[in-house]
Amino acid sequence: MNAASETLLSVDGVSLSFGGVKAITDVSFDIRKGEIRAIIGPNGAGKTSMLNVVNGFYHPQHGRITYKGKTRPRMRPYQAASQGIARTFQNVALFRGMTTLDNIMVGRTLKMHRGLFWQMLRYGPAMREEIEHRRVVEDIIDFLQIESIRKTPVGKLPYGLQKRVELGRALAMEPELLLLDEPMAGMNIEEKEDMCRYILDLNKHFGTTIALIEHDMGVVMDLSDRVVVLEYGHKIADGTPEVVKADPKVIEAYLGVGH
């Protein structure tokens, strides 16, 4: 990515605490349009909390978030969604009682507008809308190679596939900013490779900006354009993978984890 590309999201001096627990302390960083930005750090560093701040689940006590040029004190999750922020969860958060197809169709909710009257008739405009979005969803299903589990209730799927369906659901929102919370956790090598390929494809072909939390350093180094490192809620490093990897503070934080 070129360094001149514009900033999509910037986080300025954000602090978040739960009662006495300080999850994030005065963290600032930015995400540029079209890049893959990794957020790494040891367990409990505040990575997930950071994503929750970005998409409006948590409201930080201090600091500001600027997204697409607009600074805001607080935002609701549905506002984040309607402005193009999508997200997957560390612990898969699918709609367990629904099929793969329906799960991904839910991702189209914001783009569907026919009200109760037409929905009730399921005819004419409502049916046309349903088919139009089904087509988009089928493209996503093709892309993620999950054709065979289209009609399977997601609760019955193995973990790796669930993660893939969750990615599909996020993609259905056609996000500008995609937040992925450990998308490869608990996967085997092949599944990880597939997932990496999807992430790269998304970024290269659709220009989706991606913020990625990941523990596998190999994956992080390969995929990301820039990395921000958190530890105990503080930012300890920020820069290209090479720079971050050589940073003594990062090496210290990860000491004993293979570095």
Binding site: P77, A81, A93, R96, L116, Q119, M120, E129, E130, R169
Partner: protein, 358 residues
Amino acid sequence: MFYRETGQFKQSYAADQAVFPILQDRIGLAIILLVAFVVVPLFGNEFLLASVMVPFLILSLGAIGINILVGYTGLLSLGSAAFMGVGAYSAYKLSTIFPGVNILVWILCSGFFAAGVGVLFGLPSLRIKGFYLAVATLAAQFFLQWCFVRISWLYNDNPSGAIEVPARTLFGIAITGPSATPVTRYLVVLAIVVVMTLLASNIVHGRIGRTWMAVRDMDIAAQLMGIRLLPAKLLAFAVSSFYCGVSGALMVFLWLGAAEPSAFDIKLSFLLLFMVIIGGLGSMIGSFFGAALIHILPIVIRMLPEALGLPIAAATVEHLTYLIVGGLIIFFLIVEPHGLARLWQIAKQKLRVWPFPY
């Protein structure tokens, strides 16, 4: 062998997004409708029509209402009988204030009153969930039932405290009141229930239905998809209460003929909840299965000893009925929480692969 979808390749997403994508299901539905609209009225006796089918259909409609709220949206409600009462009382008031308008119009309109009241009592659902929400709806149940007893305007100051259904006609044929025949009442109820079931089924298969199920399964993720919880939940309360309201109005106008406030007490709420649990949470057909089991099974059990010539006292049979139905409820809660609808699914799956085990 006969229940196969092989060879039925869906050529379009339209065909695959249909509510009944499999041909055999559509044929089955057509047969059921034919039997319901033609065979039953032609050959059914008065008992079958008036005491079995009419109540079964009306309870099914109420069960659909509750299923929308409890099964599809995951909001536990114990106030459904009260919402049925709102439907019944508003249909009664409207039909006595404006006797010139057709009664069916008022029965359907009563749904809107129930929906309004439902939304009002659904407001706390944004903040509270599960058990606590159930308690809040219980408050609705008691408050509304208190209104039915205390506000004499609701039953036109009738000294008995009951609402009595005025005789009304449709195209010159009596459909309510003592002169309405069981066949006409059955056909009117059937038509309303079929149409409303179709509409409900369309709703739950489309965007709105998916929204409800998303809220039920994982409300955090639902919000992330851009779903606002309060409007989604209130819509579920509104639609659900609409169905309960119409069901309540039908209950008084086309089944009981008159009703006291106690007709809408907590027992009815529980009965409907049982129907939905046994039939299958989040399943349209399950609502019918549940209503059949809870309403028709006891009738069958009551008639069995006589039919078989067994000398069992009526009181004993009554107790047996409670035992069996109660046992079934516990059985389903433990063994098959998805209810009869799931058993039906499994049976269909078995049929699909028959004669092979997989």
